[in-house]
Symmetry: C2
């Protein structure tokens, strides 16, 4: 099993970030991580949408968030601890990411959970 890859700042692209967040499941995961500002393991998100996700699918989603540079995942025993890289990204991308998180959080509270 290859080790988890976390791109350095200079390898992170705007396109990659936007792509990662353009999926309804991934943006939900990321916004929850960013808002909570705590670490959560992957399977905590198995029920992120109303029909439970297969774990292979969830694993792919985390990989995409990770390789876009949005989250960091560290193995802790048998689980992965995931947390957002918001703070790091602020220097390079300014208010972009927090603006996305905020816009999404706001819509969430207006329109119901979805999907």
């Amino acid at each position: 099993m290859r080790p988890l890859y976390h791109p350095p700042l200079e390898e992170i692209t705007i396109e990659g970030i936007l792509y990662a967040l353009s999926d309804p499941v991934r943006i939900r995961i990321f916004v929850q991580l960013a808002n909570a500002d705590c670490t959560r393991n992957c399977s905590a998100f198995l029920n992120v949408c109303d029909t439970p996700l297969p774990k292979s699918t969830l694993s792919q989603h985390f990989k995409i968030l990770r390789e876009a540079g949005l989250i960091r995942s560290e193995r802790k025993g048998v689980e992965l601890q995931n947390h957002s890289r918001c703070a790091e990204l602020k220097d390079t991308f300014g208010p972009m990411i927090s603006a996305i998180v905020q816009a999404y959080s706001q819509r969430m509270t207006i329109s119901p959970p979805l999907r």
Copy 2:
């Protein structure tokens, strides 16, 4: 030929916007439209990346931007006049879109044209 579809505000989603802007060609087109704040026809962007795009591909890209709610295209004679819907979107999405445009514009000036 079916008429061009422009979604009303309440049909525009964050995921759709992020997806539309996650493509290197589309984000370049959109940022240019948003920054210039003027109308440009589609073929003005044939050379938006260093190898000229086929016009069928470009047409698809414009369709995706349009149906994501990011631009408005109006037929004017034989051409389409395209302009961004930034102003309209501000009410619903706050500073999200301008933050993306700004982040991208800034990186453009740092790293060379690309792709």
